[in-house]
């Protein structure tokens, strides 16, 4: 056993210092697709733009007056970026206020001024609700039909690299002890009941985080499954297929008031 203790010292401290210090890996992360700033404007030839919608396998690209991307539908396949790098680009970084949204419509980029107002309202309501959660937060995870990869990324938060315990965040087995519900998966019929029961079993105040594009919109399966928002009220939305552990951590800190989200671009 003592050998293990020594082995534990072998690599020194491997834990990220984020959010206190920037993390190179988090900043180099390739997030959901966004429209390039200068070409989001309507093109002279409108018909050309309508064609862009067909690039996306999940219908995340919408062309009404201008080109918009619903990051809640983006599965990061990168087809639009390789077809039209002049119009679409990857968003950079797994953390920061843009990597998680406090309202569903805030995932549609570029946003509208009225969206920003709605997001501000949602954010204020969330902050008021979670004011009591500042010090120690307990999480409960429920898989509502994921592909299995989101569980790996949530599990990684417990590992030595992300180590959420240092931030006062813990996983709990019982929903009765949970403040935050992390939900993954496209929202299968079989999991609707158990998910709702878990949510109902949590004491107030409670926060729900939809982890991943599947949980937000159903992703590729959106013709039959539409995510988890119909089963439980979602407070924070984390796009990604799957989102990086940093993105999940970022959403957690936003949800519990440890990071303050600002308006999205």
């Amino acid at each position: 056993m003592s050998i293990w203790a020594l082995r534990g010292l072998r690599d020194g401290i491997v834990t990220t210092r984020w959010p206190r210090r920037p993390d190179e890996y988090a900043d180099s992360w390739r997030g959901p697709v966004t429209v390039t700033p200068d070409t989001g404007l309507p093109a002279a030839d409108g018909a050309d733009d309508a064609w862009l919608e067909t690039l996306c396998p999940t219908g995340a690209i919408e062309v009404i007056d201008r080109v918009r991307i619903d990051q809640g539908r983006c599965i990061l396949c990168g087809r639009c970026v390789s077809a039209r790098p002049d119009r679409f680009t990857w968003s950079a970084g797994a953390t920061g206020p843009a990597a998680a949204a406090a309202a569903r419509q805030a995932l549609v980029v570029p946003g509208e001024p009225e969206t920003d107002e709605a997001v501000a309202v949602a954010r204020a309501a969330l902050a008021a609700r979670t004011a009591a959660l500042r010090r120690s937060v307990h999480l409960r995870h429920v898989d509502a039909g994921s592909d299995g990869s989101e569980e790996w990324e949530i599990q990684a938060l417990l590992g030595p690299v992300y180590d959420i315990h240092r931030l006062g965040v813990f996983f709990t087995a019982s929903p009765r002890h949970a403040d935050v519900l992390l939900v993954t998966g496209a929202g299968t019929i079989g999991m609707t009941g158990p998910l709702r029961t878990t949510y109902d079993g949590m004491p107030d105040p409670k926060v729900v985080i939809a982890v991943g594009t599947d949980a937000i919109s159903g992703g590729l399966l959106s013709d039959r499954l539409s995510g988890i928002a119909e089963a439980v009220p979602v407070d924070v939305w984390v796009p990604g297929s799957p989102p990086s552990p940093f993105a999940i951590l970022n959403a957690l800190l936003i949800a519990t008031g440890k990071l303050t989200p600002v308006a999205r671009r």
Partner: protein, 495 residues
């Protein structure tokens, strides 16, 4: 697509399968699908050497010299049929497959020992807990679908007098996403995206199996350099999965440092993957005809990172396999006998740990595996959780060496072709790839440039049913070890 020389009836299919399996071929799947206005049963069975009835499934071009492939045998049900004679009584491995057929088509497999929903949500009364063993003081512990910790959703019904587990029942329908149905009508390119999300922790293997089927239909050959990158990604995925099993086992044993070490190695492997392709699960790499793009890094750079990781993983694996308090929990736990493994055709590390090794990478090699073949495995017959972990560590070590060989073989200069033109005509083929959990199969039919039908079969589905049988003599506290030692994904099992 019919049995040569025989009427394609279910009885003929059953007899053909029975004799093939008795001859040493492995049963690899059974599905029902509506084709041309009627219902067709398709069974998959491994084949080697000369053709033996049935239609030869598509084997990836370039791999045919190595001998093995997957046969598809078919039977057509009479129009309007509502039942057929079950195969399970003569072929136990078809047990779950026929329950899925019942769920998806409503057909009744007559003579099947337990026709109950498996992946269909059904009515609540269909799932009423049914006690399988009776006796004084026996009760059922329902565990799931929301479980303690970060797990995929499924429910275990553990029948127990307190310590022993005389019977276990599993319910996987909670996560059924109907992925197979989603394939129909999708474009060939979208099929890869779906395959990657069928079983997220084995994205590369699923994408490979799907693309092998497409490439077999199109008759296109993957360039050598692209095949090498495919091998690199497939093996990195294998290492990450095996490290995940090791960390779960160490966690169950309460070895905090070992858990942290394996978690650290797994994170580093996933960061190597994200450095290569931008995602931590190797998504978007494999496309029909090759790969989407070559890694931005220089092979030498990747090689250095891999070599460092290899040393660290090997050192910690060795220490874990020498920690008696850890091995005490694994030794003799969850035993699967070699006879059962052979009879069922247990896949991947579970089969290998019970003396039944049918690794697609050597038996039916694809991509760059024919040139970078695996050395034969030392036969292991322990069949317990410890042997399964030993097999996984060995597989991880081989994966590292395969990656090193593939990278050093990578052409330094010259014209590199990531993707060969791949435009499949109408046709049907079976593609396969060895996932960390075992062999993944894709039975794909393309019509008018789109997917007419696609049936994925994960190793998780094939192997999970074996968990019913491995609790002999084990008690409740062994449960997490047995579950972790199987290393399966519920998403892949329930699809």
């Amino acid at each position: 697509m019919t049995l040569t020389g025989t009427e394609p009836t279910v009885e003929a299919l059953r007899d053909a399968l029975k004799s093939r399996v008795a001859r040493g071929d492995r049963f690899a799947g059974l599905f029902a699908a509506r084709r041309d206005g009627g219902i067709t049963l398709s069974a998959h069975v491994t084949a080697k050497g000369e053709g033996s009835g049935g239609t030869r499934g598509g084997s990836p071009p370039g791999a045919e010299t190595a001998g093995g492939w997957i046969d598809t045998l078919e039977a057509r049900l009479p129009p309007g049929a509502s039942c057929y004679p079950a195969l399970t009584p003569v072929l136990g491995a078809a047990f779950w497959y026929e329950r899925v057929i019942h769920d998806e088509t409503g057909l009744i497999p007559e003579g099947h020992p337990r026709i109950a929903p498996l992946i269909a949500a059904g009515r609540p009364e269909d799932h009423a807990p049914r006690r399988h063993v009776a006796g004084y003081g026996l009760f059922t512990i329902p565990h799931g679908p929301v479980r303690s910790g970060v797990f995929e959703s499924m429910e275990y019904l553990v029948e127990t007098p307190g310590e022993a587990i005389p019977h276990l029942n599993m319910r996987i329908f909670y996560k059924h996403r109907a992925v197979a149905a989603r394939f129909a009508g999708a474009s060939v390119g979208d099929g890869v995206l779906l395959a990657e999300r069928a079983e997220g922790i084995a994205s590369v293997a699923h994408a490979l199996a799907y693309c092998h089927a497409v490439e077999a239909i199109a008759g296109c050959a993957v360039a050598r350099e692209a095949a090498l990158i495919r091998v690199v990604h497939a093996e990195l995925e294998r290492i990450a999965n095996h490290l995940d099993v090791a960390l779960r086992l160490a966690d169950a044993a309460g070895l905090a440092v070992a858990t942290a070490r394996f978690a650290l190695h797994k994170e580093r492997v996933m960061r190597v993957v994200s450095g290569l392709c931008g995602t931590r699960f190797g998504r978007g790499v494999v496309v029909p005809g090759g790969i989407s793009a070559f890694p931005a890094q220089d092979p030498g750079q990747i090689l250095a990172a891999i070599t460092r990781l290899e040393k660290e993983v090997a050192a910690d694996a060795e220490l874990a396999m020498g920690t008696s308090s850890f091995l005490d929990r694994l030794r003799g736990t969850g035993p699967l006998t070699p006879a059962r493994a052979r009879e069922h055709g247990a896949l991947g590390p579970i089969g290998k740990a019970s003396g039944f090794a049918d690794d697609a990478r050597s038996a039916r090699p694809y991509d760059a595996y024919p040139q970078h073949g695996l050395e034969p495995y030392r036969e292991q017959t322990g069949g317990d959780a410890m042997t399964r972990l030993r097999v996984r560590f060995e597989e991880a070590a081989r994966a590292f060496s395969l990656i090193r060989r593939a990278l050093s073989d990578f052409p330094e200069r010259g014209q590199l072709t990531p993707q060969a033109p791949c435009d499949p005509p109408d046709g049907r083929a079976t593609g396969w790839a060895e996932a960390p959990q075992g062999e993944v199969l894709y039975d794909l039919t393309i019509k008018d440039g789109r997917i007419a039908h696609c049936q994925p079969r994960s190793a998780s589905f094939h192997n999970l049913v074996l968990m019913h049988e491995v609790f002999a003599g084990d008690i409740l506290t062994d449960f997490p070890f047995i579950e972790a030692s199987f290393g399966l994904s519920v998403a892949g099992a329930a699809l």
